[in-house]
C-alpha cells in the first residue's frame, strides 16, 4: 500500500479544503521533503505559506488522516500521490501537476496511452457525429479516452466508449462522491462497469465550484498525449484545455467546423492560430500519435429500390416523414418499416420530430 509517512502527509495537505494549487506548489518548492512540513523547526515556513488557518487545518487533517483513508476505503476511493510509482509519468512531467489524485475504478488506466476529448456542452449534430465516430476509432485503436464529466461532447465521448466497451477516464471537478451533473448517474455506473476510472484532485464531498473546472482541465490534458477538440464555442472551457495542452507540449487535434455555426467559432479560431492542429479524420490523429488504426469491416447492406430512393433523397439534407412519403409513394406503414430497418442498420438516423437524415 502507498501509506508511507510522506504519502500520508501529502494526502493530509490535499484534504485541506479550498487551498489553492499555487500554495501547495510553493510549499513543495520551499520544503521538498514532506517530513519537514510536520517538524516543529520548520513549521513556521508552512504557516507563512499556507496562512494560519490552512496550516492549522492541515495539522487537524494530518491527525485524522487514517480515519480519512478508512472512510475512502469504504467508498472504494483510493489515492495516488506523486511519490507513488503508479502516479502517471506523463502527468508528473507537466508544470503544475496535482500532488494527489483521488481515484475510483481501474487505476491501471492512469499509465495507459490516453487521448483527451473535450468540447462544447451543446454540440450540433455535426459535432455529435464527429465526436462519436472519432472517439470510437480512438477506443478501437486502444487509446484510453480522457474527458470531463460534463454534458455535450464529454458525455458523447463517454457513451461512445461505453458502447464500444472500452475503458475511459473521467476527470471530475468535484469530489468523487458528488455526481455532477446529476443526470449522469447512470453513465457514471456504466463507466465503472466497463472498466473505466474516475479521477479527481478534490477530496470527497467537494462541490463543483466554478474555478475547479479550469483546474480540472489541466489534469485532462496532462494525463493525455493529445487533445481532440470536435467543436467549441468562443467562450468554451475546452479552449482553456487546448491552450494548456499546448503549454504542456501536447498534441492538439482540431476538426474544422462550419464558419456560420457559433458552436464552431472557437475551434475555427484556434485553427487559424495553429493550422497544424487541423485533422480531418481519425487516422490523422492516430498517425500523429503513432498508434495503429484498427478498422472495422462495415456490414454490407443491400438496399432495395425504395430504400435507395430514401437514401438518395437524404444525401444532403434531413427530410420529414411526409416528404419521404411523397418521394417513395409507399404507405405510412411500409415507410415506417423501411425507415426502421435503415436506422437499425446504421444508415439513417431519426433526428427528432419525424425527421430523418443520413447517419
Amino acid at each position: 500500500m502507498n501509506t508511507t509517512k510522506e504519502n500520508k502527509i501529502v494526502l493530509a495537505l490535499a484534504l485541506v479544503e479550498e487551498l489553492s494549487i499555487k500554495k501547495k506548489r510553493d510549499l513543495l518548492s520551499a520544503l521538498p521533503n514532506p517530513i519537514d512540513w510536520t517538524k516543529e523547526s520548520s513549521f513556521h515556513v508552512v504557516e507563512s505559506i499556507l496562512g494560519d488557518k490552512h496550516a492549522n487545518e492541515f495539522l487537524t487533517k494530518l491527525s485524522s488522516v487514517d480515519d480519512s483513508i478508512e472512510e475512502m476505503d469504504k467508498r472504494q476511493v483510493g489515492f495516488v500521490t506523486f511519490y507513488d510509482e503508479t502516479y502517471p509519468e506523463i502527468l508528473r512531467e507537466t508544470y503544475d501537476f496535482p500532488l494527489v489524485l483521488f481515484t475510483k475504478g481501474n487505476t491501471s488506466l492512469l499509465n495507459s496511452d490516453c487521448i483527451a476529448v473535450v468540447g462544447t456542452r451543446t454540440p450540433t449534430r455535426y459535432g455529435q457525429k464527429v465526436c462519436d465516430s472519432f472517439t470510437r476509432d480512438f477506443a478501437r485503436a486502444g487509446l484510453t479516452v480522457v474527458s470531463g464529466f460534463a454534458r455535450g461532447v464529454d458525455s458523447i465521448a463517454r457513451k461512445a466508449c461505453v458502447m464500444t466497451d472500452s475503458p475511459t477516464i473521467a476527470v471530475f471537478a468535484c469530489g468523487l462522491d458528488v455526481c455532477y451533473p446529476a443526470e449522469h448517474k447512470g453513465l457514471l455506473e456504466s463507466i465503472l462497469s466497463s472498466g473505466g476510472l474516475l479521477v479527481s484532485e478534490y477530496p470527497l464531498g467537494t462541490k463543483p465550484l466554478q474555478y475547479h473546472f479550469p483546474e480540472r482541465n489541466r489534469i485532462i490534458s496532462g494525463l493525455s498525449r493529445g487533445v481532440f477538440l470536435p467543436e467549441a464555442t468562443l467562450k468554451s472551457g475546452s479552449l482553456i484545455t487546448a491552450r494548456l495542452a499546448v503549454e504542456q507540449g501536447k498534441e492538439l487535434f482540431i476538426v474544422p467546423g462550419n464558419i456560420n455555426s457559433p458552436e464552431s467559432e472557437g475551434t475555427n479560431k484556434l485553427l487559424q492560430e495553429m493550422p497544424h492542429a487541423l485533422v480531418i479524420d481519425s487516422e490523422d490523429v492516430l498517425s500523429r500519435l503513432n498508434v495503429k488504426a484498427v478498422s472495422v469491416d462495415a456490414e454490407v447492406v443491400e438496399l432495395n429500390i425504395s430504400e435507395t430512393l430514401v437514401v438518395d433523397a437524404l444525401h444532403d439534407k434531413e427530410l420529414h416523414f411526409e416528404e419521404l412519403l411523397e418521394i417513395t409513394a409507399l404507405s405510412a406503414g411500409e415507410l415506417s418499416t423501411l425507415l426502421m430497418n435503415l436506422e437499425i442498420n446504421g444508415i439513417i438516423e431519426h433526428t427528432g420530430g419525424n425527421f430523418y437524415c443520413l447517419a
Binding site: G333, S336, T337, G353
Partner: protein
C-alpha cells in the same frame, strides 16, 4: 288508511325496489318521512304538498307517516316525489281505483304539479324489468330514454293531474319503442379523419392503436394537432352496438349528462378531464360514489391532454381501471363497481417549454428539468401504454389538397376487419383484443422467426431501447401483422412496431 306504491332507487348502476308506504291517521296534522332518506328526498314533503294543492288535489290535514322500505338503505334523489304523492292520494282515497298497484312510479314534482326529469331512468327501468316489472309511470322528459327498452309499457306524463286522470281510468298511450339504428344515423361525430392533413405517422399509429385496442401517448409541441387527432379516434372505432350503447347510456344517465332529447348515447364518448382534475372526479367517488371520468369514457376514449401536468396521484389511480377495465369505488355507505373499458389517449409536450427536439424553436429547459418532466409518468403507467408517437407541428402546405386523405369510414372498415381476426383468434382465450394479451398469450401468438429475433436484438443494441418495452413491441407487432393479414409476425412488423417507441427513442439517447 294505508297505501303502498312501488318505486325504484339506484345503487350505483343497479336499481332496487323501494316500497313507498303512506299511512294517514287522525291526529294533529303532521308529516313524518322515515327510511333513511337523504336531504333531497326529505325535502319532497314541501314539493308534494304544493304540487298536490296546485293540481287541484287535497293535501290531507292529518297525521301522515311515509316509509321508504327497505328502511336500512340510504335513499338518494328526488324520484320519490311521485310515488309519495300517489300514496297520499290513495291513502286519502282521492284515487279509489286500485290500478296504481300495477305500476312502478318514478318522478320528481315541481311546485306547480309538473313532473320533472330524474337521472338514471335507463338503469332503473332495466333493473325493474329484470325483477319482473313491466308497467311504469315516469316524467315525459325521460320518455325518450325509456323508449329504447323493449318489452315494457311506459307511460310518460307531464303533470301530476295527468297521472291522477290516468289512474282514474282515462286512456293514455304508452311510449312507442324507438329504433336505435335510426337514432344513430342522425347523430354523427362532427369530425372526420379526412379533416386531418398530413400527420401520416400519427394517423397510422392511431389506426393500429384502435385496431388492437392499444393505449396511445402522443408527444409533441403545443399546437401540433394532438387534440384534433385524439378527437378523431372515436370516429374510427367500430360502431357501438345496442348493448354497448345501453352500457354507456346507463352511466351517463346516472351522472345526469344524458341528452334527454336523444335518450341514448349513440356516439362513442370522448372525455377530456382537465389536468387539475381530482382523484374522485377521475375514477369516481364523492359521498354518493358517483361514476368518474374513466367510467364516463366507457366504450370510448379518455383523453388526457398534457399528461405530466396531472397530479401524480390522479395518474396512478388510473392503473386499476386500465388493467381491470372496471373500477371499484368504495365509500363509507356503499361500494359500487362501474365499468371503465376505455381507450387511453394521452398527450404531452416533450419538455416544460415544449420545444425540446424542435427544428425551429429553441428549447430553454435544462436536462434535469426535462428528466423531471418526463419522469412524472411512472413506469407502471407507461407499461400500459403500448404506442408512443411523436407528433410535430410542421405544416406542409404543398401536401395540402394534393390527395384527399382517407375518411374515417374507410379506416373504420379496415379496423372492423382486424377486430374480427382478433375475435376469431382469441375466441377460446377469454380476451377480445391484442392489447389484452397476457404473458401466456404472447407466448402462444407472438412467436418470432429468427429474422425477427435478430432485428429486435439489433434494435435494442442500436437504439438503446429499454427492455421493458419488449412485450409492448410484440403486442403492437401482432396488431400490425393482423392489419397486414399475416398469420405470423414477420420482421417488417417488428420494425414498424419499434417505430412507435417514441418516448424511449427520444429520451434514451
Amino acid at each position: 288508511m294505508l297505501a303502498k306504491v312501488k318505486s325504484y332507487a339506484l345503487d350505483g348502476l343497479v336499481g332496487y325496489r323501494v316500497d313507498t308506504e303512506v299511512d294517514i291517521n287522525s291526529g294533529l296534522p303532521g308529516y313524518e318521512l322515515v327510511g333513511l332518506a337523504s336531504t333531497a328526498t326529505k325535502e319532497s314533503k314541501e314539493r308534494v304538498r304544493s304540487a298536490m294543492k296546485n293540481s287541484g288535489l287535497l293535501y290531507p290535514m292529518k297525521r301522515i307517516t311515509v316509509n321508504l322500505a327497505p328502511a336500512d338503505t340510504k335513499k338518494e334523489g328526488s324520484g320519490f316525489d311521485l310515488p309519495i304523492a300517489i300514496g297520499l292520494l290513495a291513502a286519502s282515497e282521492q284515487i279509489v281505483n286500485k290500478k296504481y298497484k300495477d305500476f312502478v312510479f318514478i318522478g320528481e314534482l315541481g311546485l306547480d304539479g309538473k313532473l320533472r326529469h330524474v337521472n338514471g331512468i335507463m338503469p332503473l327501468l332495466l333493473s325493474a324489468y329484470q325483477d319482473g316489472e313491466t308497467r311504469f309511470v315516469i316524467p315525459s322528459q325521460n320518455a325518450k330514454e325509456a323508449s329504447f327498452i323493449e318489452g315494457i309499457e311506459v307511460y310518460a306524463m307531464d303533470r301530476l293531474s295527468d297521472v291522477v286522470a290516468f289512474l282514474s281510468g282515462v286512456d293514455y298511450n304508452p311510449v312507442p319503442i324507438s329504433s336505435f339504428a335510426s337514432t344513430c344515423k342522425v347523430h354523427g361525430y362532427g369530425v372526420d379523419f379526412c379533416n386531418v392533413k398530413g400527420q401520416s405517422v400519427a394517423k397510422r399509429a392511431l389506426e393500429i392503436a384502435v385496431s388492437g385496442g392499444h393505449n396511445v401517448l402522443m408527444i409533441g409541441p403545443p399546437g401540433a394537432g394532438k387534440t384534433m387527432l385524439a378527437k378523431c379516434v372515436p370516429t374510427i372505432m367500430p360502431d357501438m352496438n345496442f348493448q354497448e350503447a345501453v352500457e354507456v347510456t346507463k352511466i351517463h344517465s346516472v351522472s345526469g349528462i344524458l341528452d334527454p332529447g336523444v335518450g341514448i348515447v349513440t356516439t362513442r364518448p370522448f372525455r377530456t378531464p382537465h389536468h387539475t382534475t381530482t382523484v374522485p372526479t377521475l375514477v369516481g367517488g364523492g359521498n354518493k360514489a358517483t361514476p368518474g371520468e374513466v367510467s364516463l369514457a366507457h366504450n370510448g376514449v379518455l383523453f388526457l391532454d398534457e399528461m405530466p401536468e396531472y397530479s401524480r396521484r390522479a395518474l396512478e389511480t388510473l392503473r386499476q381501471p386500465l388493467e381491470d377495465r372496471r373500477v371499484t369505488v368504495a365509500r363509507v355507505a356503499r361500494t359500487v363497481e362501474y365499468p371503465s373499458n376505455f381507450m387511453l389517449i394521452a398527450s404531452m409536450n416533450p419538455c416544460p417549454c415544449g420545444n425540446y427536439g424542435s427544428k425551429t424553436q429553441v428549447c430553454k429547459c435544462s436536462p434535469q428539468q426535462i428528466h423531471n418532466y418526463v419522469s412524472k409518468l411512472s413506469g407502471p403507467l407507461l407499461d400500459r401504454i403500448d404506442l408512443q408517437i411523436e407528433v410535430d407541428s410542421v405544416l406542409y402546405e404543398e401536401f395540402r389538397g394534393k390527395e384527399k386523405p382517407e375518411t374515417s369510414a374507410e379506416v373504420k372498415a379496415r379496423i372492423n376487419r382486424v377486430r374480427a381476426i382478433q375475435a376469431e383468434r382469441f375466441k377460446d382465450d377469454g380476451i377480445r383484443i391484442n392489447a389484452e394479451m397476457e404473458a401466456n398469450h404472447l407466448e402462444k401468438y407472438c412467436t418470432l422467426d429468427q429474422a425477427g429475433e435478430r432485428l429486435l436484438q439489433k434494435a435494442f443494441d442500436k437504439l438503446n431501447l429499454s427492455a421493458r418495452g419488449t412485450t409492448r413491441i410484440l403486442k403492437v407487432a401482432r396488431t400490425i401483422a393482423d392489419i397486414d393479414g399475416s398469420q405470423n409476425i414477420e420482421s417488417k412488423h417488428i420494425a414498424e412496431a419499434i417505430q412507435y417507441r417514441g418516448l424511449d427513442r427520444k429520451y434514451n439517447r
